[in-house]
């Protein structure tokens, strides 16, 4: 394999030399492109697919040869050089289409559909340039944003928007936090420790979607991708295979986003305004005050409190005279105190226009989304200027400049037990009140402080806490193009990313439980972090196309990219400021202040070659090769790649081919099959997310008292290199019944070799592991996408579509022992021969009804000091897998798989005159979830309020139930990580329902008025018991499917108006 790659690279270099020679020969060869009228006459009709009537004024062209325009009745006649010619048919309001000439005997009948109707005639933006999907041999999907972006729910960012629109693109919204973004991957995952995110390319430049800070607001992550304004996007191409042109960055596929194209000569203004409502989520049923009091009484009795001790508790006494009666006899629904139904709004203005010399697209936007709590909000200002300048006949410059500023109000969430309002709202005692109450029962306007159980007041966190994330990004590039002649051009992109994020928080002392620091008790706390990313990107390439005779077409692109990155994070944490009015880090105690941060720098270069070959417009072949150098690679890599000087370079490539079967003689006249294309590709790309400095031998600071020394940090691995992912894809594109049914089906297999693992070493090395390229895994699956036009008359239309995708993962080799990892209370195992990342815990089998029953089985649990505690009646019946009668870590087994069996979507669009109704259902089948929220609500071991499920808890000998007894501290581990907490996470969701009406207007200066009514997350069908079955708390695969109690997704409804001027 290596040798082949090296050879191809060498051939690529040779080609460059040949190209050099070819330049001089240019002019003579290109003379064939001169209009040549001596060809074969072809006749045909062009009809509107909806009405069946002929259309006039449609352009029919044969590239570099001839052109024609259709007559009144749709008929046309054109000369073609030979019978393998493709006619390109285009007309205002119709999707541009290519049609192979079949024969001169019969007249062609060509049906035209509205723009963006068929995937097969969309223009894909590929790393090698624009290409019509018709002839694209790779597995790519194009999503046109024009159709739905104007009614897009305010709450959805690009990642969410793409969910369900492309088979094979898996998008999981991280949480309901506005601007949270989505966990994206294409066709499952390819790596354990390196990233599984697809590469993002926006306007030709890499868009960095990493979070470079430690995230001082707990369990909140920033997502730069979510900052992109959906309405600025024209289309997105999702490239699922053959992404080798991006070398060691292409392993996870590529998402190529194109923003506003300045392509209008007349001034065109779009103005939109939206307003809507975020509906508060449905509450989880927790115990009411009386039920909780009973539960608590039983619980504290189980820790050995005597009846008199319990009776002395202030929350038990019912004497109004004791002064505390009113404090402990309230009925508070804490979830009501947190969640709110709120509003959202969005304004957006875009102006496009210009002349022959300069065209521009300018947009500004404002968005304010309040989330579903009284504190959460996201406010965004965005602006973008895309311009296209023709400086001279040959030189043009495109500028794509954007600036976005976000201000988000956030709070800790997830496992922040003392500071997450969501967790507290579920678990705080319902008999306590929000405000302080005195002995006479008078309610103070002041909030209640930390309660007798040491639990914070969630309202104090909302009202007196601060959590702000302000971030901005400048993302811009200049694209220079010099056209030597129509076949030969030089391009260069020079781009800059500047991202800054400033996060501050303050947690008050009053109303919030203290924390224990290494040297003091922390009461109030504050923090501030600044993250910065500075990245310069260049991409320079030569394009050269060549036609040999009338049958052979070549396209070449040879280019060079570079990216240098510089990231920085600085944070400070302060504690114990004098009062809660001093909220900055500087006001905290000098002794307790903590400062930290990190710096990163990495550079990447990439030389690439793309060669497209087309024979007879039927057989397409594409060859890609890329050579990468990266500061992250080790300097003595042993295999795969080559050394040049002291640095080491990867050599990767792919080859893909397509065969348009429907252009062959035997199918040319088929009535049923309009288009049939077979595709196959094999490619090798890489993943360079191996750590900036992991290959180097590093020293870190080690103190001896207050003096700093240096010690070894790692075992550097000079052999460390990229992960290699080879992708095999076979696909078929099929269009049937006069293009009314369009189907794409792909099967694929991705093999990861040289996968990064933390290989455990012997104890004598003094280190636990060394990072090596020694694992491998495989992901295989299929994608199906089906779109059909069921009904289309002039007034009425119905389109339906279906996307299905499935992947199956298997770790094929892993050095050493299985990887056991923990995240958010869940334990995962990754094992050779199995899927990566499976839930790993105890199996349970109900609850012992009686102690006799438990004794009969004779199982026990080891305590911390090694003593064994036997199970009793009311305890969970764990399965003793190793048969030693002791329930411990050795009895764990695989209890669930967070990866879905099948994901997909179903969409339907109904048009009636000017009214249109569209619905998108998204579903996920067969994925398991760890319900960490329910774990906290059913573990029955502390003062936390519980869900109503615990009303069925075991209380008396002989009771048949599936909820165990309440025991203080849970010494028998009834609540330990087991299949009790694993739930089926399958769901079906009506993700978007959109009704739009195009108001007829006679006014001269208003071109269009459209109104939209959109609902998002309107209905969710699931058996999952948490708030919502869709969440992702981490970007690592070790942690997917663990519900930590993040802000749930919610329903939004909005009304919008679009004015076209």
């Amino acid at each position: 394999m290596l040798k082949k790659l090296q050879l191809t690279c060498f051939l690529g270099l040779l080609f460059c030399v040949a190209l050099h020679g070819g330049l001089y020969a240019q002019e003579t060869v290109d003379s064939t492109a001169v209009q040549n009228k001596e060809g074969i006459d072809v006749k045909g009709y062009i009809k509107d697919a909806a009405t069946g009537e002929g259309i006039s004024g449609i352009n029919i062209t044969v590239e570099n040869f001839s052109a024609a325009i259709s007559n009144e009745d749709g008929s046309f006649s054109i000369k073609v050089p030979n019978l393998n010619t493709l006619l390109s048919i285009s007309g205002q309001g119709y999707q541009t289409k290519v049609v192979p000439v079949t024969s001169t005997n019969t007249e062609l009948e060509i049906l035209l559909f509205e723009a963006h109707y068929s995937q097969f005639y969309e223009l894909a933006q590929l790393p090698s340039g624009e290409k019509l999907q018709y002839s694209n041999p790779k597995a790519a999907s194009v999503v046109d944003f024009g159709a739905t972006q104007w009614g897009n729910p305010i709450n959805e960012s690009v990642g969410d928007f793409l969910q369900g629109k492309v088979a094979g693109l898996n998008s999981v919204r991280k949480s309901g936090v506005p601007g949270a973004g989505a966990y994206l991957n294409i066709r499952g995952f390819n790596s354990l420790y390196a990233t599984n995110k697809p590469l993002l390319i926006v306007d030709g430049m890499i868009y960095d979607d990493e979070d470079y800070g430690s995230g001082i607001l707990q369990y909140n992550a920033s997502s730069p991708l979510a900052m992109l304004e959906v309405k600025d996007i024209e289309d997105v191409t999702i490239l699922k295979d053959g992404s080798s042109l991006y070398g060691t960055k292409g392993a996870n596929g590529v998402i190529i986003i194109t923003t506003t194209r300045p392509d209008e000569l007349t001034t065109k203004i779009d103005f939109t305004m939206y307003g809507g409502m975020n509906q508060k989520p449905e509450q989880l049923p927790v115990l009411r005050a009386g039920q909780y009091r009973t539960y608590l009484t039983q619980l504290v009795a189980s820790r050995g409190d005597s009846q008199s001790q319990i009776a002395a508790q202030p929350w038990v006494s019912d004497s109004r005279a004791n002064g505390e009666y009113f404090t402990y006899n309230n009925i508070t629904n804490w979830q009501d105190k947190i969640f709110r139904t709120t509003t959202n709004q969005n304004y957006y203005l875009r102006i496009k226009g210009g002349d022959d010399i300069a065209k521009y697209g300018l947009s500004v936007g404002y968005l304010n989304n309040e989330g579903v709590t009284s504190y959460s909000s996201m406010e965004r200002y965005s602006t973008r200027l895309n311009a296209s300048l023709r400086l001279t006949e040959k030189l043009s410059v495109d500028a794509n400049l954007s600036f976005i500023h976000n201000t988000e109000n956030l709070r800790d969430q997830g496992l922040a037990y003392k500071t997450s309002p969501f967790y507290l709202a579920l678990t705080k005692s319902p008999f306590l009140a929000v405000n302080a109450i005195d002995a006479a029962g008078d309610v103070s306007p002041n909030l209640a402080d930390v309660d007798i159980f040491g639990v914070s007041n969630p309202v104090a966190l909302l009202e007196n806490g601060i959590g702000v994330n302000k971030n901005y990004r400048f993302f811009g590039n200049l694209h220079f193009q010099y056209v030597f002649n129509p076949n030969f051009s030089l391009n260069s992109i020079l781009g800059l990313t500047l991202n800054k994020e400033r996060e501050t928080f303050f947690i008050p002392d009053f109303g919030v439980a203290d924390i224990v620091l290494p040297t003091a008790i922390g009461n109030n706390r504050s923090g501030s972090e600044v993250q910065r990313l500075y990245s310069i990107y260049t991409d320079t390439w030569l394009n050269y196309s060549k036609q040999l005779g009338n049958k052979n077409f070549f396209d070449f692109r040879l280019g060079f990219r570079s990216q240098s990155n510089d990231s920085e994070s600085d944070l400070g944490l302060g504690y114990n400021s004098a009062t809660d009015d001093f909220t900055s880090v500087g006001s905290g105690s000098n002794l307790l202040r903590f400062v930290g941060g990190s710096l990163g720098e990495w550079n990447w270069i990439n030389g690439y070659l793309n060669a497209d070959y087309n024979y007879l417009n039927k057989y397409y072949l594409t060859f890609n090769a890329a050579v990468d150098g990266s500061s992250r690679f080790g300097n003595s890599i042993k295999q795969g790649g080559f050394a040049l000087g002291d640095s080491y370079y990867s050599a990767l490539g792919s080859i893909s081919g397509a065969w348009i079967v429907s252009s062959e003689d035997f199918l040319r006249n088929s009535e049923v099959i309009n288009f049939l294309k077979l595709r196959a590709s094999y490619g090798v790309s890489g993943n360079d997310d191996i750590g900036n400095y992991t290959a180097q031998q590093l020293y870190v600071s080690q103190n001896l008292l207050g003096v700093q020394g240096l010690v070894r940090d790692n075992i550097g691995n000079p052999e460390l290199k990229w992960e290699t992912v080879s992708k095999l894809n076979m696909g078929v594109d099929l269009s049937l019944l006069k293009d009314r049914l369009n189907v794409s089906f792909d099967v694929y297999q991705n093999n990861t070799e040289d996968m990064i693992t933390y290989e455990s070493t012997t104890t004598t090395t003094g280190f636990d592991y060394i990072v090596t390229n020694s694992g491998s895994m495989q992901t295989q699956g299929y994608d199906l996408s089906l779109n059909s036009r069921l009904i289309k008359t002039s007034d009425f239309g119905l389109d339906v579509g279906l996307n299905l995708s499935r992947y199956v993962n298997e770790v094929t080799s892993l050095p050493g022992e299985p990887i056991i990892s923990e995240f958010g209370g869940a334990t995962y195992i990754t094992h050779e021969g199995q899927d990566a990342n499976l839930f790993y815990g105890f199996k349970t089998n109900g609850v012992y009804a009686t102690t006799a029953e438990a004794n009969a089985e004779g199982l026990s649990r080891p305590l911390g000091n090694g003593n064994l505690l036997p199970f009793e009646g009311g305890d969970i019946r764990f399965e003793d897998l190793n048969g030693d009668k002791i329930i411990d870590d050795r009895d764990r087994s695989v209890i669930g798989n967070p990866n879905p069996d099948l994901t997909g979507s179903f969409n339907a669009k109904l048009n009636y005159k000017r009214l249109s109704l569209s619905a998108l259902f998204y579903f996920s089948v067969g994925n398991d979830l760890y319900n960490g929220v329910r774990y906290n609500l059913e573990r029955m071991s502390g003062y936390e309020n519980q869900s109503i499920a615990v009303l069925n808890r075991w209380v008396a000998e002989g009771q048949q139930t599936n909820i165990p007894r309440a025991t203080w501290g849970d010494p028998l581990g009834n609540a330990s990580f087991s299949d009790r907490w694993i739930e089926d996470g399958s769901y079906l969701r009506l993700k978007t329902l959109m009704l739009s009406y195009d108001i007829p207007t006679q006014l001269q200066y208003i071109k269009a008025i459209e109104v939209y009514a959109t609902a998002n997350n309107l209905l969710t069908f699931t058996n999952y018991l948490g708030y919502d079955p869709e969440f992702s708390a981490t970007s690592s695969i070790f942690g997917q499917g663990a519900d930590l109690g993040l802000m749930p997704q919610f329903t939004t409804m909005q009304l919008g108006l679009r004015l076209g001027l």
Partner: protein, 586 residues
């Protein structure tokens, strides 16, 4: 083609140049050095880097403190587990450690060893590249070299045969190589260690002008570093080279000899007698003229025997302590001993064994009290009904109320070497080197007391050993003529501890050796010496029962049903050693 080459020669040359230029500039572009860490090119460039390397290695070394104490004491007979101990500690105490037990994992030791290896290799390179002077090299190389030998000695004591790795791990091949490194026996290891450590060209502590001897956060760093002579003495003692051992120990004992300051000269490492008038000493003592009053015991953090463990690093402290590292609550790592020993603010994981308590109770003080105050008054106390090991807690617990002064105030020390240990070890070597009388003198009431002649006022020819180095002691203190010889203040270990002399029964060499080992238990309990002492003597005498009996007595006194079987097991030397775990996840 040829014409092409000729016509394009200039272009080709140009292209070649461009290619060469771009390759080298690419290389520069791709050569990114870490910003918040250092890589190997950015380190070991001057003497300050070398100092940072040493500081770092000692910083890592401090993380071994808890393990060192547990391995050396809980496995032996003076320390026992409590109701809170985890099963792995219980296994350690009962000698049933299996491979999955954390104490079977030598990684912590190798982590420091590998840092030492890295230091040593790079010091060599620095010297070769003339990045620091020969003297700077000698001092630093010897320090880290000695520390590594100390670590290997500990590994040998606990794991028997271990791989003796002296090269750092720098890449995957090194990792694979360490996995197949041969394990050498304890005897072979000792030989290697003696050879290596004797080869070090500098054996004194860092000079006072060294850039490593500074004051940091209220602590002088001079005693942070290993004493190479003590280590050499220990290594020779393990190797049964008694004279050599005595020479090295004696070198340390004479540390004050060249001093111009009298108190430094007479007091440094000489185990000074009690200051009965002022009680400003390190001895067990009572208020003057109230020697029969139990309550008059000098029991505070600044006077008497207790202050050895509680006092600041002052002049008196410096006369006793040779090697000790402080834990300060302002800095990591957190003092592990609070958690280990204290039943307030700690987990109380270990306690004194009944056998240790009995040992102290069996002594008689010179005032007739039927116990050794070093036991229940100083080494342990009964707090809230629990027997609590106190040596490590004096800076944590209030001297009067015995409750934590401040839960976050966790200052303390890791006790590694002090004069009493030095004297006992020297005596052990001397006793075996036909100098039993000196050994007995140092153990009991000191040289002067042993070599004096009652009633003689002219001390010219008495109160000294008249032996050649390393057995030369002059303890004369006379007024007519006046003598104040170097050793005149030596009061003996038991003298200082205010207990009656240890009787010599039967074979004097064996009996004195027994006395010395028992005295080490009384004096140095919980300072991390006991298991080594038992192993060393048991090997020397080729008598496993010396070790097995003591463990049996400990377990038996606790009523442990395993006592008998543990004894049987320990009668085989192989069973003294912990399993050596190569791969953590076995």
């Amino acid at each position: 083609m040829k014409t092409f080459i000729l016509t394009n020669k200039k272009k080709l040359v140009l292209a070649g140049l461009a290619l060469a230029l771009s390759v080298s500039s690419c290389q520069e572009y791709l050569d990114v050095e870490p910003q918040d860490k250092l890589n190997s090119d950015q380190f070991y460039r001057d003497v300050f880097d070398a100092d940072a390397a040493i500081i770092g290695t000692y910083g890592k070394f401090m993380q071994l403190a808890e393990k060192y104490v547990l391995l050396n004491e809980l496995r032996a007979d003076l320390m026992a587990t409590t109701r809170n101990s985890d099963p792995e500690m219980i296994a350690l105490s009962e000698h049933s450690v299996t491979a999955d037990n954390r104490f079977a994992n030598p990684k912590d030791f190798y982590e420091v060893i590998q840092n030492c290896n890295d230091n040593l290799k790079n010091f060599d390179i620095m010297l070769a590249d003339k990045k620091f002077s020969q003297t700077e090299y000698n001092q630093r190389y010897a320090d880290i070299g000695a520390l590594r030998s100390w670590l290997y000695l500990q590994l040998g004591i606990h794991y028997g045969s271990v791989p003796y790795i002296t090269e750092p791990i720098e890449n995957l091949d090194d990792v694979k190589e360490t996995a197949i490194y041969p394990r050498i026996t304890f005897e072979e290891l000792i030989d290697e260690l003696v050879a290596f450590t004797e080869g070090l060209s500098y054996t004194s502590p860092y000079g006072a002008d060294s850039s490593l001897v500074i004051n940091v956060d209220g602590y002088n760093t001079a005693k942070f570093f290993i004493n190479k002579e003590c280590l050499l003495g220990d290594l020779h003692l393990w190797d049964n080279n008694y004279t050599q051992a005595a020479i090295h120990y004696k070198n340390v004992m004479e540390t004050g000899t060249m001093s111009g300051n009298d108190s430094e000269r007479f007091d440094t490492y000489r185990v000074k007698f009690a200051e009965v008038a002022t009680n400003n000493d390190l001895a067990v003592g009572y208020l003057r003229f109230r020697e029969q009053d139990r309550l008059a015991l000098i029991d505070n953090n600044t006077q008497g025997w207790r202050s050895i463990f509680a006092r600041d690093r002052d002049v008196l402290w410096n006369t006793e302590w040779i090697w000790s590292l402080p834990f300060d609550s302002n800095f990591a790592p957190k003092n592990p001993f609070i958690n280990l020993f204290s039943n307030q603010g700690g987990d109380y994981l270990v306690k004194p064994s009944q056998r240790a308590i009995d040992l102290w109770e069996d002594q008689t003080q010179r005032n007739g009290f039927p116990y050794d105050a070093r036991g229940k008054r100083f080494s342990y106390n009964v707090i809230g009904g629990d027997e609590v090991i106190m040596k490590y807690l004096y800076k944590f617990l209030d001297p009067v109320t015995q409750t934590p002064i401040d839960l976050f105030q966790t200052d303390g020390e890791w006790f590694l070497y002090r004069a009493a240990k030095l004297h006992l070890r020297y005596a052990e070597a001397a006793n075996r080197d036909n100098q039993s009388r000196i050994a007995d003198a140092l153990l009991n009431f000191g040289i002067q007391s042993e070599y004096t002649v009652p009633g003689v006022t002219d001390k010219t020819d008495i109160e000294q050993t008249f032996e050649p180095f390393p057995y030369n002691f002059d303890a004369r203190a006379g007024d007519f003529p006046r003598f104040r010889a170097d050793w005149h203040r030596n009061g003996g270990i038991r003298g200082r501890a205010y207990v009656e002399r240890a009787e010599v029964l039967g074979d004097s060499v064996i009996s004195i050796e027994n006395n010395l080992i028992e005295e080490a238990a009384l004096e140095l309990a919980y300072e991390g010496n006991r298991w080594g002492d038992l192993v060393r003597i048991a090997i020397r005498r080729n008598d496993p029962s010396f070790l097995a009996d003591r463990i049996y007595e400990k377990l038996n006194a606790e009523g442990n049903a395993q006592a008998g079987s543990v004894r049987t097991k320990l009668m085989v030397r192989e069973n003294w050693y912990l399993p050596f775990v190569w791969n953590e996840e076995e």
